[in-house]
């Protein structure tokens, strides 16, 4: 671009952005260095490097929040919720695009309008409804609740995408004697994968990190997700920063790894997803 011709100026801009990037990284620095110190050393100086590296805090944090359990619970809740909402959402979106009629048009409008309802506006009765249907305090239960809340965005994004898939493929499949079910599962669904990836990414960032919904419907210690495990740790050991910081790091690591591996997809997914909505 044009600014190429102003090399010194470009250098100044690079330095400014670099400083901002370092400021953005600094919270991670503080958390990591202090998680390796004993409590007394944190209180003395919460900015310095540790005098000796000690992993005790991590051992204590791992056991206190029972990390393997909360990690597995988060994994189960996130993956089953997303698998279900993608399948149900794709089926509904495809059918509404290909066989439009008044009722399915109305259903689509309902899905889209529900996107403006803030979660906090329905959470009080939602707990009551969940209780009515036996969905409280269980992992399958919260998965079904996520199906409900995830449906609008999923249907909306896939609905837009199905319109761009040429009809001819399905039509020739019908001529070859395919049933509706076969043509959806064998032909259309695989073609939807670009948008399915976007949906999976957006919903993973939401469900993996979600706090309020699990707080309202999961009670037993054995079914806590990572955010709930961390929250209850802080409830018990307020300001015990040595092991608390180790807990926070363990909570962050899985999703950071997920991000770094799938970085390019995530950023494409986010820009595609938000421009559509």
């Amino acid at each position: 671009m044009i600014t190429n011709k102003y090399f010194p100026r470009l250098f100044v801009i690079e330095m400014v952005v670099l400083v901002i990037a370092l400021i953005y990284l600094s919270p991670f620095y503080f958390v990591v260095v202090n998680s390796l110190k004993p409590f007394g050393e944190i209180i003395e100086n919460a900015a310095s490097l540790p005098s000796t590296i000690r992993w005790d805090n991590f051992v204590k944090a791992w056991n206190t929040v029972s990390f393997p359990t909360v990690f597995l619970n988060s994994l189960l809740v996130t993956s089953f919720s997303i698998a279900g909402m993608v399948l149900l959402g794709a089926m509904a979106a495809w059918r509404m695009v290909r066989r439009p009629h008044k009722i399915s048009g109305l259903i689509f409008v309902l899905f889209v309008s529900a996107m403006v309802i803030p979660f906090q506006s329905v959470m009080i009765p939602m707990v009551k409804v969940a209780k009515m249907f036996g969905l409280l305090n269980s992992i399958p239960g919260i998965v079904v609740i996520y199906f409900g809340f995830g449906m609008p965005l999923t249907v909306f994004l896939l609905h837009g995408f199905v319109k761009s898939i040429p009809k001819e493929l399905e039509e020739s499949a019908y001529i070859d004697g395919c049933s509706t079910f076969q043509s959806f599962f064998q032909i259309v669904f695989p073609l939807m994968r670009t948008m399915v990836v976007t949906v999976i990414i957006l919903q993973t960032l939401w469900i993996w990190n979600d706090f309020l919904l699990p707080l309202l419907v999961l009670f037993d210690e054995s079914i806590r997700t990572i955010p709930l495990g961390i929250f209850s740790f802080f409830g018990q050991y307020l300001n015990q920063w040595d092991s608390a910081l180790a807990t926070l790091i363990m909570g962050m690591v899985p999703i950071i790894i997920f991000f770094l591996i799938l970085q390019n997809y995530i950023i494409k997914g986010i820009t595609a997803g938000s421009i559509k909505s």
Binding site: V17, A21, N34, A46, M123, M151, I230
Partner: protein, 293 residues
């Protein structure tokens, strides 16, 4: 003919039915039930909710000081955060679409906080404000770090804004980057040859051509800030003295801590109306702006 229609209906039910039924029961049914609860007094335990008409709504406006404090905090927080996060994101996007050496790495770093849960980020920053800042202040003597962070209503407010901006700038920046990259380079080159100043190119070419991204980003930032819950719940717990309690937190406390489900529901419905009004107004205003630009 009849057979075919029957088959069509069966297939409609098979494909659309499951998703729509779950959605209806969990979201729509809850929403309607919430409207009903908002006209009742109910503690969550009793079998029957007692019909009280519009008393709960009157109560929110007249007898509930904390609800007012939360509403004002949420509005101020929204205003400051939406503006600051978007300005910073836009200028970072401008800089990071220049041919800088480490542009990709810096984008990744600035985006990173977005993938981490709000509860975790809130606790991280509680530690930084109350411990690391103190140590930095002692070492450097810079007044900014020696403020009583999170200890007063003002530092609580700006602390919340700082965390929000830090958390979300990267997301908005990515959307702005995509919009700026898609601007036709020949336009900028032509303007440059014609002797346009950098400021001119920004205000006459870049901003008008990224108006759509601005609409999207303001919309997103509004929906995050008006509904803010987890980050501040972990950061300040609404303190000191309820001064940093968001309206979403106020609804939560009303229902699940004080067990006033009716009053909580009335607040939830008002919340829906106000948030809906703000986002509709924003979309309409920026759409008009898009046409003019």
């Amino acid at each position: 003919m009849n057979n075919r229609r029957l088959r069509d209906i069966r297939e409609d039910i098979f494909f659309i039915g499951p998703g729509f039924i779950i959605f209806t029961l969990i979201v729509l049914f809850s929403f309607v039930l919430g409207i009903y609860y908002s006209f009742t007094e109910w503690n969550g335990v009793n079998k029957e909710a007692l019909w009280v008409g519009i008393d709960n709504y009157l109560q929110v406006f007249k007898g509930d000081e904390q609800a007012g404090v939360s509403a004002v905090f949420t509005l101020k927080f929204t205003l400051a955060s939406v503006i600051l996060a978007n300005l910073l994101a836009f200028f970072l996007a401008l800089a990071l679409t220049l041919p800088l050496k480490n542009a990709k790495l810096m984008r990744t770093i600035i985006f990173l906080p977005n993938v981490i849960g709000g509860i975790i980020l809130g606790f991280v920053w509680r530690f930084i404000f109350t411990n690391s800042f103190v140590s930095i202040g002692e070492l450097t003597g810079i007044g900014f770090f020696e403020l009583p962070w999170l200890g007063t209503p003002i530092t609580g407010f700006w602390g919340s804004v700082i965390v929000f901006v830090w958390q979300r700038t990267g997301y908005l920046m990515m959307i702005y980057v995509a919009a700026i990259v898609s601007i036709d380079d020949t336009l900028l080159e032509a303007a440059y040859i014609d002797g346009a100043s950098q400021l001119h190119m920004l205000t006459k070419i870049i901003i008008p051509l990224t108006v759509q991204a601005i609409t999207v980003c303001v919309f997103l930032a509004l929906s995050w800030t008006t509904k803010m819950f987890d980050v501040i719940f972990a950061l300040t717990k609404g303190g000191p003295f309820g001064s940093t309690e968001t309206f979403a937190m106020n609804i939560y406390y009303e229902a699940f801590q004080y067990n006033n489900y009716g009053l909580g529901s009335a607040k939830a419905i008002l919340f829906f109306i106000v948030v809906g009004f703000i986002s509709t107004a924003q979309v309409l205003i920026t759409k008009k702006w898009e046409v003019e630009a």
